[in-house]
């Protein structure tokens, strides 16, 4: 039993270190020839900014790879060789010209982080829902126009970043992504959040730079939210239910159409930062808020 515990402890510590990608223990190779010549097992490779149109086929020989960075190349598709790397935990494909994610993605069972910013994705392949270890997805700056349905089947996800897409529709069942902590939907085309239900443990919610008219009251039921950014929208009023956000520490409401805030905001005892610049509020309204919330720094 003791041995098993020790073994578990070792496995845990190894995977923990791996997640940190110690550059000495796991040197990152940037050249396939050097990696092939290496007498040591290759765990990490980066082909960032190499002007590649295709990945080297010999990459398939790096079957212990857990980190692969192929960002900032000219890739128009995800080469099959990627999906042969069954140990992959972190995959960075940012800054390419990829239009779709092939079915092969479902084979990367150990994947924890998938980063595909600045590509040309119009949809997210539903095969991604087979990745039960996936914790972090970055699809910023693509051409998505709906919230990817496949993500709703991944309760393991802790972070979703979808900023700077064309999303106008957001699922009202986000609460299915039970472990979600960070959600960024800023700089999209959202004007109606519907009856959006948020996951229980959500800490950071970013909805700035959309066309949102109203924040649904369901949002204020997320008692674990610490940071809420709904700046640069067209919100005219905030529901008194905002008083339920007991753990919010920083709230950014800048550049909306708010003339006043409900008095219930005084119940936000953890709120340290409130940004109200760019709203048509009178100085008197702001002065009143300052009296209501002596522990909060208000920027106006």
């Amino acid at each position: 039993m003791k041995n098993i515990l020790l073994f578990i402890a070792i496995v845990f510590s190894v995977s923990n270190v791996k997640a940190q990608i110690d550059p000495v223990k796991y040197p990152t190779y940037t050249d396939i020839d050097m990696a092939l010549l290496s007498k040591k097992t290759v765990y990490s490779m980066s082909f960032r900014d190499k002007g590649l149109y295709n990945l080297p086929p010999d990459l398939a020989k790096m079957d212990s790879l857990f980190f692969l960075n192929i960002m900032a190349n000219h890739l128009e598709k995800m080469d099959k060789v990627i999906f042969s790397l069954k140990e992959l935990e972190i995959l960075n494909v940012n800054e390419n010209s990829i239009r779709f994610i092939p079915d092969g993605i479902g084979e990367l069972k150990k994947l924890k982080t998938l980063s595909m910013n600045l590509n040309s994705l119009t949809a997210i392949n539903s095969e991604i829902s087979k990745l039960n270890n996936l914790k972090i997805v970055h699809f910023d700056s693509n051409n998505l126009n709906v919230f990817p349905e496949a993500l709703l089947s991944l309760p393991s996800l802790e972070e979703i970043n979808l900023h700077s897409n064309q999303i106008s529709n957001v699922s009202d069942r986000l609460d299915k992504i039970k472990n979600l902590r960070y959600l960024n939907l800023s700089s999209n085309q959202i004007n109606d959040l519907g009856e959006m239900k948020l996951p229980k443990y959500l800490k950071y919610l970013e909805l700035q730079k959309n066309r949102i008219v109203k924040v649904p009251e369901t949002v204020f039921q997320s008692k674990n939210i610490e940071y809420l950014n709904i700046s640069d929208n067209v919100i005219t009023q905030i529901s008194p239910k905002i008083g339920q956000l007991k753990n919010v520490v920083s709230m950014n409401l800048a550049n909306n159409k708010l003339k006043e805030l409900p008095e219930e905001i005084k119940y936000l005892k953890q709120l340290k930062t409130l940004i109200l610049v760019g709203n048509p509020m009178s100085k008197e309204s702001v002065a009143k808020l300052k009296v209501l919330m002596p522990e909060t720094t208000i920027y106006f």
């Binding site: 990608i21 982080t113 920083s250 800048a254 340290k272």
Partner: protein, 719 residues
């Protein structure tokens, strides 16, 4: 006074007559015959008599993939262009200006003789030969200027032939256009008088403007030495030096309480993902006059409270002798569950231990949370150790200031963002005043969201703040905006700022340079990036983009009265990063980031051949007398016995060389043009040279004689 006025009048008359003599022989957009069949032509294709009657013709620009007037067949490795034109030799200036817009490399022949080879390798060129580097971005549209001696032209019909080589047949574009005109009289720029003694690292003659070549080019007054490169094994702790060498910080060790310029730490960032920092220890050997690397190891970021680092881009050396490394990418992950996003912070390192010294309140190692999360670039701290300045490359593109609660302690303080009172128009400040707006930074929720808070609070968005520095002369704050191709400066008054202005730059701004090859012009181009001041107030500007130069701007430079010099050109594919100096400013350390695998080997100050093909490298630069050659033990800068005789001469002269090593002789005509250049690795006691031809066209030549530890200039008169 009267006489002076008269001479001015005479000068104006002369200038006027020169202007009248200027003619355009053929202009941009002229018609060319071309061959785009995608095959090797017979060698005679460039000769005047070659039959081109079957060739197609069209007006420039010609090519494909970029805006052109005449579209030619694609894809091609090489396209061939030719054009006949008529000149009256009596109307030509001594040299004629050829301007060529080329994407990517060219060979130009005039009447069958090669007169220009640009961005192409040496040796035999065939249809399959590819250009040396890729020309992209704004450089695709630049007309590169070349001089062709009048002697290459014939009376009547001449033929110019240009072969245009692609970077690869798979390249999406290929384009050429050209013009030919009489040369404008050279702008007279006096040599830099601030460098009369020639003993400061900023004393040099500008290099001749060039596209990137297969080697590092630095002024003839300087040498370089390779210190370390990507893939070198660490001497301690295992692992090897990472890639993408970036900020390169020399931290002086204190010897008897004084910072040493010969014994220090060299910290090299690796702008990789995963990231890393190399911490080396280096010593200057006074006998060999070379730097020696005595230790190298990776900085240890393996603490649960740190979660490593990524994309260690730029950074800074603090006045109290530590290194700050900057993470250029922000990631929202919180792998260790400490409430902080893992990446996008500044991190302080003790160079002596190669350990992170930033402390969390619970005593664990941390990052500099209160300085905020962003796409960090460099950080600079004032000498008093009270205020730090930095900027964001990406994200908000703003300039930040951090006022420490306790001097020399970056872990707590107040954060501000710069807001110009009237913003920017076309990259220029509309007014000269600004304010610093406080950005909340005391809670994790705020620290994790610096960028969006600063943006909402109205900070001014530049485009790609790469570096912020403080002038040692006037204390003004200088910063680069890479996307705007400009360096700005301002005076910080505490809560406000004034005298906000563009100091230098503008992508299309052209500066005159006094080079070893006469007066040349060069556009500032894209990509001003890292900055460093030397103690005289010269601003060293490292360029990522454009032609990847290192520029040096004198402290009394203004845009109306420019004082700009060109220090270095990086090997193909690379950019210079992270220059810092030793305290005595004899030595400067910087890195050559991501050179191509096709660059050449080189010989550095050790005299050894070095090979950093495809590998980022970190080097030291210094004046020749300060670096290398020390083992000879016979250096004497006052050698007076090296004489050129006879002088005046009919052409043949003897130089008694005292057996100097690595002798270089360069002869300039009265226009400042190089008419002779030759290198001699080993020489006899007396060297015989023949300047008969050169003296046919000039009554006087300036000879520059250089060798290891020696330099002399001689006026050679014609008998």
């Amino acid at each position: 006074m009267k006489r002076k006025l008269l001479s001015v009048a005479a000068f104006l008359l002369m200038t006027n007559s020169v202007i009248q003599a200027q003619t355009t022989i053929f202009d941009k957009g002229s018609s060319w015959s071309y061959d785009d069949k995608g095959v090797q032509l017979a060698d005679q294709w460039k000769d005047p008599g070659f039959d081109i009657s079957g060739w197609l013709s069209g007006n420039g620009p010609l090519g494909y993939g970029d805006p052109v007037t005449t579209t030619i067949t694609k894809p091609l490795n090489t396209a061939y262009f030719t054009k006949d034109f008529t000149v009256n030799l009596a109307d030509l200036t001594e040299t004629v200006e050829l301007g060529v817009m080329r994407d990517d490399g060219i060979l130009v022949f005039l009447n069958g003789v090669e007169v220009v080879r640009d961005n192409m390798p040496a040796g035999t060129i065939t249809y399959a030969t590819l250009s040396s580097t890729t020309i992209d971005g704004a450089n695709e549209s630049v007309y590169n200027v070349f001089s062709i001696p009048k002697a290459n032209f014939v009376q009547g019909t001449n033929r110019i032939s240009i072969e245009l080589h692609n970077r690869g047949a798979s390249s999406s574009d290929l384009r050429m256009d050209a013009y030919l005109k009489n040369t404008t009289p050279p702008v007279v720029i006096p040599p830099d008088t601030s460098c009369n003694d020639g003993n400061h690292i900023s004393c040099f003659t500008s290099i001749v403007p060039t596209a990137q070549t297969s080697k590092l080019i630095i002024p003839i007054q300087h040498k370089f030495q390779l210190i370390l490169k990507e893939g070198d094994s660490y001497t301690e702790g295992g692992g090897f030096v990472g890639g993408q060498n970036d900020f390169t910080g020399y931290v002086a060790k204190k010897i008897s309480g004084a910072p040493s310029s010969t014994d220090g730490y060299l910290s090299v960032n690796h702008e990789t993902n995963p990231g890393g920092v190399t911490m080396a220890e280096i010593n200057f050997n006074a006998t060999t006059k070379l730097w020696e690397l005595t230790k190298s190891r990776a900085v240890d970021f393996s603490s649960a409270s740190l979660v490593q680092t990524i994309r260690n881009c730029s950074g800074g050396v603090t006045p109290w002798g530590t290194i700050v490394t900057s993470e250029e990418s922000v990631a929202g992950n919180d792998t260790n569950g400490d409430g902080y996003k893992d990446y996008g912070w500044l991190v302080e390192i003790d160079p002596a231990t190669a350990q992170v010294i930033s402390k969390n309140t619970n005593g664990t190692k941390g990052k500099l949370w209160q300085m905020g999360i962003m796409n960090h670039e460099n950080v600079v701290i004032n000498d008093a150790g009270t205020t730090a300045y930095y900027g964001e490359d990406g994200g908000t593109h703003m300039v930040y200031k951090f006022v420490m609660d306790t001097p020399n302690d970056l872990s707590s303080g107040n954060l501000y963002v710069l807001k110009l009172d009237q913003g920017l128009t076309n990259g220029d400040p509309v007014a000269t005043t600004a304010v610093w707006i406080q950005v909340p930074n005391k809670t994790q929720a705020d620290q994790n969201n610096t960028a969006s808070l600063a943006e909402s609070l109205g900070g001014t968005k530049f485009n790609g703040i790469e570096d912020v520095e403080i002038s040692p002369l006037d204390g003004k704050i200088y910063f680069t905006a890479k996307g705007l191709d400009k360096v700005y400066r301002l005076k910080d008054n505490g809560t406000t700022a004034s005298e906000v202005e563009v100091f230098v730059g503008g992508g299309s701004t052209v500066y005159n340079l006094y080079t070893a090859d006469g007066v040349k012009t060069e556009a500032w181009g894209d990509g001003n990036d890292n900055l460093t001041f030397d103690e005289l107030g010269n601003l060293w500007v490292l360029q990522d983009g454009g032609k990847n130069y290192i520029w040096v701007i004198a402290p009394d430079h203004t845009q109306a009265n420019p004082k700009v010099k060109l220090f270095a050109s990086m090997p193909a594919g690379s950019e210079p990063t992270g220059l810092t100096f030793t305290p005595d400013h004899k030595f400067g350390f910087f890195s050559i980031q991501h050179p191509g695998s096709g660059i050449d080997t080189d010989v550095d100050a050790t005299g050894n051949t070095i090979d950093y093909k495809g590998k980022s490298a970190t080097i030291v630069i210094a004046l020749k007398q300060n670096l290398g050659g020390g083992s000879l033990g016979t250096i004497d800068h006052t050698i007076n016995n090296v004489v050129v005789s006879p002088n005046p001469t009919y052409g043949i002269v003897n130089i008694n060389t005292e057996n100097l090593k690595n002798l270089n002789v360069t002869a300039y005509n009265m226009l400042g043009q190089i008419v002779y250049k030759k290198s001699f690795a080993e020489t006899n006691a007396v060297l015989e040279l023949d300047f008969t031809t050169q003296l046919q066209f000039s009554n006087m030549l300036i000879l520059n004689i250089e060798a290891d530890g020696f330099q002399k200039t001689v006026k050679l008169l014609k008998k």
